[in-house]
């Protein structure tokens, strides 16, 4: 592995971490779309900043561009507050307007600016190692590595300092306000970090990948944990994995690095979405199937409890009486027998003591719907788990 390859992977990983942190809070605040808006609307800021500084990595350019990001958020909120259009519409109005200004500015000055729309959308990670930072004539590494590294450092410092404030204002804005943690300050703080991160990552990975790096790792992490710190850690992990694996996919396929990283992010999310242990699609489907069976079982047990007549309890009659298909009736009968809820004698089904107690308890729960009872039930009955 060459030095340049290592540097590209390092930059991509740092960008991924810098994006995953604000991204986690954006996802929890249901503001994923705002990152899309910011990533596009900072373009005019970048172009104007570039005219002034002639340097894509200048701190002034980053601040100017981040300012456009904040302006986007303010404009969206202002339009939304008038009550004439909803938030998604406001976002859809603001960012194309700003982005198009950027596109026109680039086109108008195409001859003097080393910026083109392709690079803006997809980034030029492959070229990042060529733009070196020289201090006193000594090469200290690629410029974008330093830019992204600095942004990441600030982001991590802010996260550690204000973790508690971010958590409370994300979970309960009203309580945060009443305790004196101004939700507005935290909101605009998060928006500022998101904007600065977007600008810093923009040059390396482009507008589209920035959004993917912010949202996909956080969305996948959300499906896997019920702990905010673990969610942050998982999002960071997914981000780094996608950055490095994506780089090698691009290498093998000789394709765009940004495109490959984004594809890997998509795949990571897809895998988690399908296979997450409790919130994944397959787990949910399995649970629903279990619940269907258990409701059937309960219906069946209740039928036995309510009927003493022999013909109501004859194996062959059960199917007609409860009106089930043969296969389902057999599944339920087997399940009940396996759990010692019933015994069958001369084709007549009756409840065992255990089955009788279980049925009474379940019915009791369903009728009273009391919390205390549900707790005991949860252990032995799938149906009542969440």
């Amino acid at each position: 592995m060459s030095n340049a390859q290592l540097e590209i992977q390092l930059i991509a990983s740092l960008v991924a971490v810098a994006c995953a942190i604000p991204g986690t809070f954006l996802v929890l605040r249901k503001m994923a779309m705002i990152s899309d808006a910011i990533s596009h609307s900072i373009l005019p800021g970048i172009v104007v900043g570039f005219f002034i500084t002639q340097d894509l990595n200048s701190p002034l350019l980053i601040l100017l561009a981040a300012l456009t990001g904040i302006i986007t958020v303010v404009l969206v909120e202002y339009i939304q507050k008038t009550g004439l259009v909803k938030e998604d519409t406001a976002i859809g109005l603001v960012f194309p307007a700003l982005f198009s200004i950027g596109v026109i500015l680039i086109a108008q000055n195409a001859n003097d600016v080393h910026l083109d729309v392709d690079a803006v959308l997809l980034g030029e990670l492959a070229f990042a190692p060529f733009d070196r930072l020289l201090i006193g004539g000594a090469d200290v590494g690629p410029k974008s590595l330093w830019v992204v590294g600095t942004i990441l450092l600030i982001t991590v410092a802010l996260l550690i300092l204000f973790f508690k404030e971010l958590k409370i204002s994300t979970f309960d804005k009203g309580l945060a306000a009443s305790l004196g943690f101004s939700p507005a300050i935290i909101h605009y703080g998060l928006m500022s970090v998101s904007s600065v991160t977007t600008v810093g990552a923009f040059d390396a990975v482009g507008a589209i990948l920035v959004v993917a790096l912010m949202i996909a790792p956080a969305a996948a992490a959300y499906l896997l944990t019920t702990d905010l710190k673990k969610m942050l850690a998982l999002a960071i992990g997914f981000g780094i994995f996608s950055a490095i694996f994506g780089y090698w996919v691009a290498h093998w396929l000789d394709a765009s690095i940004a495109g490959s990283i984004t594809s890997v992010l998509g795949l990571v999310f897809l895998v988690v979405y399908l296979f997450a242990p409790s919130k994944g699609i397959i787990a949910v489907m399995y649970r629903e199937k279990q619940q269907r069976t258990e409701v059937s079982l309960l219906t069946f047990l209740l039928h036995l409890k309510n009927h003493d007549e022999l013909e109501e309890r004859h194996v062959n009659h059960l199917r007609e009486h409860i009106n089930w298909q043969k296969v389902r009736a057999k599944t339920v009968l087997d399940l009940a027998q396996k759990n010692n809820m019933i015994h069958i004698e001369k084709n007549i089904v009756s409840l065992t003591t255990k089955g009788d107690e279980f049925t009474s308890k379940a019915i009791d729960y369903i009728m009273t719907n009391e919390d205390a009872q549900i707790e005991d039930m949860k252990d032995d009955f799938f149906l009542f788990r969440g």
């Binding site: 306000a177 305790l179 004196g180 019920t226 702990d227």
Partner: protein, 265 residues
């Protein structure tokens, strides 16, 4: 109970408190007007809440009950008027006040546990940046125990029933160890057991000399649960001891001629 007149109920009220004038005023609201998009939802409210009462705020939907609480707590900015907590502005008295928002105002799918939510109640006394430590954790566990939820401390909050979630919110307010408690519809969507558990804790708070203000919907239970009541419908209709002012006259003024329909809900 449905056909019983409120004149009869008031005599069975548990209240034995005397008039407001003799007591310390915990919360004072002066000429408060609050508007959404320049449309006033609260008009010129004057309100004095004496220390140590358990007060219900009642009124029809859209009467501005939640808005009143939120304005007192500085969550909403009034267009006119002022609020004081023990004679000082709210910003200086945050430590004395605990707030229980409506259960529906937060996302219960948020990745956190019951204990962690209760710990949020300690954030106010910690201030910015400082993290909760062992002391805060111990206080939070005690609050969980008080609401009978200690066994659920590690449970993810979406895995709790509506009543359990409300108890967690109550524990979060208890851990603040405040003098004044504001609660926005704490009985909404909870089962009967939880309702009794909550009202018992509120009565305990009053016994300990705390002031408790509750936005309340069920008019039937007002005389049984509360000793003080405020009728609100954009304007303040009346405020005072339940036994003196909880009557057909004020109910009619607040709910209009159809108030009896509301009672039967």
């Amino acid at each position: 109970m449905k056909n019983e007149s409120y004149e009869n109920i008031k005599h069975s009220s548990p209240s034995d408190k005397t008039s407001a004038s003799a007591r310390v005023i915990a919360v004072k609201v002066d000429d408060l007007t609050v508007a959404y998009n320049y449309k006033p939802v609260l008009w010129d409210i004057d309100l004095e809440i004496p220390e140590g009462v358990l007060m219900a705020i009642v009124g029809p939907n859209g009467a501005g009950k939640s808005t009143l609480i939120k304005s007192i707590l500085g969550i909403l900015k009034p267009i006119a008027g002022s609020v004081s907590i023990y004679d000082k502005p709210y910003e200086k008295q945050r430590q004395l006040v605990a707030y229980v928002p409506q259960k529906g105002s937060v996302d219960w799918d948020f990745p956190t546990t019951a204990l962690d939510v209760v710990m949020m109640g300690t954030y106010g006394s910690l201030g910015w940046i400082k993290r909760p430590g062992q002391k805060e954790k111990k206080a939070s566990l005690e609050a969980l125990e008080k609401v009978g939820m200690l066994a659920f401390k590690s449970r993810q909050i979406s895995q709790l029933s509506g009543g359990q979630q409300q108890r967690i919110f109550l524990a979060r307010a208890l851990v603040q160890n405040a003098s004044i408690y504001f609660m926005d519809e704490p009985f909404q969507g909870v089962d009967a057991t939880t309702e009794i558990a909550i009202i018992n804790i509120l009565k305990e708070l009053r016994k300990a000399g705390k002031t408790v203000i509750v936005v309340h919907h069920d008019l039937q239970t007002v005389p049984e649960y509360f000793d003080w009541v405020t009728f609100l419908n954009v304007k303040k209709i009346a405020t005072g001891p339940v036994k003196d002012i909880f009557n057909d006259d004020n109910l009619t003024k607040t709910y209009g001629i159809n108030y009896k329909v509301s009672i039967q809900e």
